[in-house]
C-alpha cells in the first residue's frame, strides 16, 4: 500500500503531460497561438481556465487554515467569488472585446494603446510581473509541501518543487496557453471535488459529519462563529479588505488577462458568471476541514497544514493521496498560468517592444519558451532559498495587481481619463501599498489592508491628474469605445 500514493501523484502528473502534449498537436508556431491560443477556447475550457487559475494553493490550504484560525472570516470568500464572477461580465467581457478588436496579446498592449503611452504600458507590465512572482512562489511552496506529504515524505520538498516545475515547463513549452487551459479542466475539476469531498470526509472521520461538527463548534468554540472571535483579525475591516482586494487583485493578474483574451466568444462572459458563483460551494468543504481540525489538532503552529494533517491522520492513505493530488492541482493550475504570463510580459512588452522589434513570429515564440524556464528557475530559487521573505511580500501581491483597476475602469467608463492620470495613479497606488504594508507601526492602518489604501490614493490621483491634464485624442477614444460596443 505504501507505494500507492506515489503512483497516484505520478499518475496525475503523467495525465497532465499527456493532455499537454495533445494540446501541443493543435498548436501553430505563432505568438498569438502560444500566448492566447489563437482566441479559440470554448466555454467549458474558458470556465475551468478562469476557475483553476483563480483558485490557488491558498484556496486549498489557506482557506482551511483561515477557518481554523479565524473562525468565520473566510466566509467572505462566498461573497468575493460572486464579485469575481460578476466582474467577468462587467470587465472581462470588455477586456475580451478590446483584445479581439485591436489584436492585443498582453495587458500592456491595451493600456499603451488606449492611453497612447508606452510608459503606461511598461508600468502595468512592471507591476504585474513584480507582484506575480511572489504569488507564484507561494504556489510552489504549497505544491511542494503537498507533494511531499502525499508521498509520505518519500519525495523531499526540494525534489517535489523541482518535479512540480519541470512538469509545468514541459507541457507549457509544448502547447503554450492551450496546454495550460486543457490541463486546467482536469485540475479545476479535481480541486473543487477534492476540497468538497475531502472536507466532508474529514468532518465525518473526526466528529461524525457536518451536523455533529456544527453542534460541537457551538458548544466548544462559539467564539469562532461570529465576528470578533478568537483573534482580533476576525473583524469587519479584514472581512471587507479581503472581499475587495482578493477578487480584484486576482482578476487583474496577467494570467487572467490571457485567459480572457483566449476565449472564442463574447457570450461566454455571461455564462461563466453563474458557473463561477456555484463552483464556490467547495469552500463549504474548507470550512468543515478547518473546523474539524480544531478537534483533531487543537493547537497547530502552522494552521495552513490543518487539512493535509487531518486527512493523513483520519482518512485512508489512498483517499488522502487523491485529495492531496487535488491540492497539487490547485497550486499547479495557478503556477502554470503565472509562469506563462510572466514569460509573455517579458517577451511581448520588453523584448519585442524595446529590444528586438522586427523579428519573425517564431523568434518571439522561442524567446517566450526560454523565458518560461527563466521564470520557473527564479521562482524555484526563491522557494528553496528565501521562502520567508517572499511570503511576506506575497501578502501584498494581490493588493499590488489590484492597482491596475482605476486606469482599467477609466478606459472603459471615463473618456476624460488621461495617460498622466494613469501613470500618477499607478505610481501613487504602488507607493501607498508599499508604505502601508512595510512601515513599522503603520501596517494596514485601521485594520484595512494596504491594497485598499493603495486603491484609494490611486483613484484620487487618477481623477485629479486626469482633470488637470490634456484629454486623450478624441478620435482614438471614440474608436476604442466603438469597438467595445460592436
Amino acid at each position: 500500500m505504501e507505494y500507492l500514493p506515489i503512483v497516484i501523484i505520478f499518475g496525475y502528473l503523467i495525465a497532465l503531460l499527456i493532455i499537454g502534449l495533445l494540446a501541443a498537436k493543435k498548436s501553430i508556431p505563432t505568438a498569438a497561438d502560444f500566448f492566447v491560443a489563437n482566441r479559440s477556447i470554448g466555454l467549458i475550457a474558458t470556465f475551468f481556465g478562469l476557475q483553476a487559475t483563480w483558485w490557488s494553493a491558498f484556496a486549498f490550504l489557506g482557506s482551511c487554515g483561515y477557518f481554523y484560525s479565524y473562525g468565520t472570516l473566510y466566509l467572505t470568500a462566498f461573497g468575493w467569488n460572486v464579485l469575481f464572477a460578476v466582474s467577468m461580465y462587467v470587465l472581462g467581457r470588455r477586456i475580451w472585446k478590446a483584445g479581439k478588436a485591436f489584436n492585443f496579446i498582453s495587458p500592456a498592449d491595451m493600456f499603451s494603446h488606449y492611453y497612447n503611452s508606452k510608459l503606461a504600458g511598461l508600468l502595468v507590465t512592471i507591476i504585474m510581473a513584480t507582484f506575480t512572482v511572489p504569488y507564484l512562489q507561494i504556489q510552489l511552496a504549497g505544491g511542494g509541501y503537498l507533494f511531499e506529504v502525499a508521498t509520505g515524505g518519500a519525495i523531499p520538498y526540494w525534489a517535489a518543487a523541482v518535479i512540480f516545475y519541470v512538469i509545468i515547463v514541459i507541457y507549457t513549452w509544448s502547447g503554450g496557453l492551450r496546454a495550460i487551459i486543457w490541463t486546467d479542466i482536469l485540475q479545476g475539476a479535481m480541486l473543487a471535488g477534492g476540497l468538497l469531498i475531502g472536507g466532508l470526509a474529514v468532518s465525518y472521520a473526526v466528529v461524525g459529519g457536518p451536523g455533529a461538527l456544527f453542534e460541537r463548534m457551538i458548544s466548544d468554540y462559539p467564539q469562532w462563529l461570529t465576528f470578533g472571535g478568537p483573534v482580533p483579525y476576525n473583524n469587519y475591516a479584514s472581512w471587507f479588505s479581503l472581499f475587495i482586494v482578493t477578487p480584484i487583485g486576482a482578476m487583474l493578474g496577467p494570467q487572467m488577462f490571457l485567459k480572457i483574451y483566449a476565449a472564442k466568444d463574447e457570450n461566454y462572459f455571461r455564462y461563466v458568471v453563474p458557473m463561477l458563483c456555484f463552483i464556490t460551494f467547495p469552500y463549504f468543504g474548507s470550512m468543515l476541514a478547518g473546523w474539524s481540525g480544531l478537534f483533531a489538532f487543537p493547537k497547530l503552529a502552522t494552521p495552513d497544514k490543518v487539512f493535509p494533517l487531518t486527512l493523513m491522520a483520519y482518512t485512508p492513505l489512498v483517499f488522502a493521496s487523491f485529495v492531496m493530488a487535488a491540492g497539487l492541482a490547485a497550486a499547479q493550475s495557478t503556477a502554470d498560468g503565472q509562469i506563462h504570463a510572466c514569460s509573455m510580459l517579458l517577451t511581448r512588452d520588453i523584448y519585442q517592444k524595446f529590444i528586438r522589434k522586427d523579428k519573425p513570429e517564431q523568434h518571439y515564440v522561442l524567446f517566450g519558451r526560454i523565458m518560461l524556464i527563466v521564470f520557473a528557475a527564479i521562482a524555484l530559487f526563491f522557494a528553496l532559498f528565501a521562502p520567508g521573505y517572499l511570503v511576506t511580500i506575497g501578502a501584498v501581491a494581490l493588493g499590488g495587481t489590484a492597482q491596475i483597476l482605476p486606469p482599467l475602469l477609466g478606459m472603459f467608463f471615463w473618456p476624460r481619463s488621461t495617460k498622466e492620470g494613469c501613470i500618477a495613479g499607478l505610481l501613487g497606488g504602488l507607493i501607498t501599498v508599499v508604505v502601508t504594508q512595510f512601515t513599522p507601526g503603520f501596517v494596514n492602518p485601521l485594520g484595512i489592508f494596504s491594497g485598499i489604501w493603495g486603491l484609494l490614493v490611486n483613484s484620487i490621483l487618477f481623477v485629479v491628474v486626469s482633470l488637470a491634464t490634456k484629454p486623450l485624442p478624441i478620435e482614438a477614444v471614440r474608436a476604442f469605445h466603438k469597438a467595445l460596443q460592436s
Partner: protein, 75 residues
C-alpha cells in the same frame, strides 16, 4: 459640434436594472455594516450557525439570479 462618446454604465432594460439592484443589495448584505446583524449563532438553520446560513443563503440566491440573468437578461 463633436459627436459625444456613448458610454453605457447602467443597463438599458428594466430586467437589467433589477439584476443590478439585486447585486448592490447582495454586496451590502454580505458586507459590513449590514452583516453585523447576522453575526450570531442563533437561530440555527439546518443545524448551521446563523452567520454561516446567512452567507450561504445569499450566495445561493446570487447564483440563481446570475443564472437567470445570463440566459434571460444579459444579451
Amino acid at each position: 459640434m463633436e459627436e459625444k462618446i456613448e458610454i453605457r454604465i447602467l443597463p438599458k432594460t428594466l430586467a437589467g436594472k433589477l439584476v443590478l439592484c439585486f447585486y448592490i443589495v447582495y454586496f451590502a448584505m454580505v458586507n459590513p455594516p449590514v452583516i453585523g446583524i447576522a453575526s450570531r449563532i442563533y437561530p440555527t438553520v439546518l443545524g448551521m450557525p446563523f452567520l454561516v446560513a446567512w452567507v450561504l443563503i445569499w450566495w445561493l440566491l446570487a447564483g440563481v439570479v446570475a443564472m437567470v440573468a445570463a440566459w434571460k437578461v444579459w444579451r
